[in-house]
């Protein structure tokens, strides 16, 4: 029986199993309906909506200052970058010049968030593929980064450090020292990551050649972020549509051509090194000055439409605001990376084995609250 109460038509020898919504390897409440022929997957149907909180509609009743905090709850692993996207969109509408200090701190925190996010993903990938140890090792370094967040922003995950026009308060005096210590620690431990998981024969056997996403599929499905870059699609928003001074920074867009789970894994591992490289360029060059531009207490955007995209740890996040000139948005639309990336799953899992489904899901790095929002 499906949701409408109609009986399911199955071929002989075919059977249906439900993975989720409460399955540990789906990282949240995602329901996958899987049609199986023996161990081979015939079809996967993702059912979403279990954690829908109507964030877009909620934002319509909040002011331009207040709607930013809600977006922390979409992709909670890279909450800072979501907040940044919203703040940038409002600044675009207001035509405010953000002080240089605020811009640099924003980029620093965004790259730290990306680092922490990829570490969490690395740990969870290990966990999904049957290795429990990487999870603890990843959380050890992530904890050090979250301590920076806690000291400067006051919260570990849902920071809400962004305000239209800059950052909420100045960085903590300890910030620079702490970041430098963490960078040394992370660089050292990244080698450990490779020794523990990347070169492991069991891990290699589970990801090599599994779930190959072609570049054509990646483009037509709208896949962005590391998942698309692993298929050779150049789509880094930081390179193509630079924002917040990324155009002045030296870093490479990490690309791979394999398209399989191993390529997606390697892209993220190499992106961590690029993030460290970006942080190293900025950490000693934080300019002095204001950390917040002066804005009115009640922000009113001019009538019109504003769009801003940023590169989160999982792909391209677009924020689209329609303003009718009032103090709260007329309509908000979020183009979230995970919603698009989810639809690679039915394509990749077709004719794969059921064990490969977990590898594919792990390396697509799906965050379910970002899909439903």
């Amino acid at each position: 029986m499906n949701l409408l109460g109609e009986p399911e038509v199955t071929e002989e020898g075919e059977f249906i199993i439900n993975i989720g919504p409460q399955h540990p390897s789906t990282h949240g409440v995602l329901h996958l309906k899987v049609w199986l022929d023996g161990e081979t997957i015939k079809k996967v149907e993702p059912h979403i909506g279990y954690i829908h909180r109507s964030i877009e509609k909620m934002s319509e009743s909040l002011s331009y200052r207040n709607f930013i905090y809600v977006t922390s709850r979409m992709d909670y692993i890279s909450a800072h970058i979501n907040n940044q996207a919203c703040a940038l969109t409002v600044e675009k509408g207001l035509q405010v010049e953000v002080p240089a200090r605020a811009r640099v701190v924003r980029v620093l925190l965004a790259e730290l968030t990306r680092l922490a996010s990829h570490q969490l993903w690395w740990g969870c990938t290990g966990l999904d593929l049957g290795a429990v140890t990487p999870f603890f090792y990843a959380f050890r370094e992530r904890e050090a980064i979250l301590d920076i967040m806690e000291e400067t922003c006051g919260a570990r995950l849902t920071q809400n450090f962004m305000v239209p026009g800059g950052i909420m308060y100045d960085i903590h005096p300890n910030f620079q020292n702490r970041v430098k210590t963490v960078l040394i620690q992370v660089k050292e431990k990244l080698k450990e990551y490779d020794e523990l998981v990347t070169d492991n024969v069991i891990f290699q056997g589970r990801v090599k050649g599994v779930g190959v996403l072609t570049a054509e599929d990646a483009i037509s499905l709208g896949i962005t972020g590391p998942s698309a870059r692993a298929s050779g699609v150049s789509c880094d928003v930081r390179k193509w549509f630079p924002y917040e001074g990324y155009e002045n920074l030296q870093f490479d867009e990490v690309l791979d051509t394999g398209g399989d789970c191993l390529a997606r894994y390697m892209v993220r591992m190499r992106e961590m090194k690029q993030s460290i490289h970006i942080i190293e360029q900025l950490i000693d060059n934080i300019p002095e000055g204001d950390f917040q531009a002066k804005t009115k207490m009640v922000i009113k955007l001019p009538k019109g439409e504003f769009y801003q995209r940023v590169e989160t740890a999982r792909g391209e996040l677009g924020v689209y605001i329609v303003s009718d000139g009032g103090s709260s948005p007329y309509r908000i639309k979020y183009r979230t990376p995970n919603f698009s990336n989810l639809w690679a799953l039915p394509v990749l899992a077709k004719n794969a084995k059921i064990g490969d489904l977990i590898s594919i899901m792990a390396t697509l790095d799906l965050i379910i609250p970002d899909i439903d929002r």
Binding site: D147, G154, T158, N160, V163, H172, E192, L196, N200
Partner: protein, 158 residues
């Protein structure tokens, strides 16, 4: 040729496993490298960061005075309706009436700790506290009145 490949693969596989076990073995034999905090056993020494957002508090000085004038800027700034300010008219010594707070009602159960109220406050009357152990058995206990009984607004705070 086949045998050579086979032995090569076996050698590489065993080597990769041993490399991984070297890493885990190192931490197994070096317990000092472990960075875990044993909460709640370390409660006595646990120090949260100054800026940690645990709850909204209203600092009072020794003579039981706070800085809240009842302007309701925080109530407007709050996205969740966490704060309700009940005001009263207080008779001043010079015979004039002045607005003062009767109760600063704070619903911790609705609060997302976004810090919007603290940054909106013009007289620094409220700030974020570092306590984070808020679990209670009855949710009515999460409704708090932040101004202490009998407290007054500080001299000179407008």
């Amino acid at each position: 040729m086949f045998l050579k490949d086979y032995v090569g693969t076996v050698y590489k596989s065993v080597r990769s496993l041993l490399t991984g076990m070297k890493v885990t073995g190192y931490y197994f034999t070096h317990p000092k490298e472990i960075q875990t905090q044993e909460y709640p056993d370390n409660r006595a020494t646990l120090q949260m960061f100054d800026r940690f957002k645990g709850e909204v508090i209203m600092p009072h000085d020794d003579s039981n005075e706070h800085r809240c004038t009842g302007c309701q800027a925080c109530e407007i700034a709050c996205p969740n309706g966490t704060i309700k300010i009940i005001t009263k008219q207080e008779l001043q010594p010079d015979g004039k009436k002045k607005k003062a707070i009767d109760a600063f009602v704070y619903h911790l159960e609705l609060c997302t700790l976004c810090n919007m109220c603290v940054s909106a406050c013009p007289s620094d009357a409220i700030k974020m506290g570092q306590s984070f152990e808020h679990s209670v058995y009855d949710k009515r206990q999460l409704k708090k009145i932040l101004n202490k009984p009998g407290s007054k607004v500080m001299e000179g705070v407008e």
